[in-house]
Subunit: 114 residues, 2 copies
DNA sequence: CAGCATCCTGCGTGATACTG
DNA sequence: CAGTATCACGCAGGATGCTG
């Protein structure tokens, strides 16, 4: 769980950074530009199969974790009707190609059985 | 958790297939050819930071899961001193480039730690 | 709107002991 | 050697209600 993991096995670090059901998809959604909390939530619901709702606690946690890893940045506008934007950091953007690789694999090997 | 996930979000399927601490590393180890149970276990211990031992139950489960996903194949020699080999299937090999991408990312963005 | 507080549940992970 | 059996635990994940 310490830095050694990064050295000995980058994969472990990668897995830890994107562990959870939504992190990768959040990063992917954010690649097109900043998004608000609600937009992310709705975007997540769109792709899911039967997910009706996402527990705020869960999404909140994912977002916070991503921010702590330095992959995304939270921008609070501090307005009366709250408005918060999340955007990829430079580190976060470095993830995009990897996610793209994963998605390409999926499209190739999951038959994209539409 | 059904096929819809594969369609709507390949990433979810990917995550499910390689969920767990060892699966990705097992696949990676296997890319160089078939390996025996003990070899895999020892290989896993080598890269880890402080991992003393891997619970057989855990490794066993990972292996079984990978086999059920059709990513690896179990070959039991049925000899008196048990000998079992695991090898990548065609599907399993399709994972290698993706893992390579992850590792490349790690070497690029985590090498600061080394 | 964008969360936080609280409670609950399942499963992934680990340790130990045993077996064909 | 290559596992299985059993017990235990932490934490991710979900549901509901409340707030600034």
């Amino acid at each position: 769980m310490d830095k050694n993991d990064s050295k000995g096995c980058p994969v472990l670090t990668f897995q830890r950074m994107v562990s959870g059901k939504y992190k990768i998809r959040i990063l992917w959604d954010l690649k097109d530009g900043p998004r608000r909390y609600g937009e992310i939530r709705n975007g997540l619901l769109r792709g899911a199969s039967g997910s009706r709702e996402i527990a705020p606690r869960v999404l909140s946690r994912e977002l916070k974790a991503l921010a702590e890893f330095g992959l995304i940045q939270r921008k609070d506008f501090g307005t009366v009707p709250p408005k918060v934007e999340y955007r990829l950091t430079r580190a976060g953007k470095s993830f995009v190609p990897v996610i793209a690789a994963i998605r390409r694999w999926g499209e190739r090997h999951l038959t994209a059985a539409a």
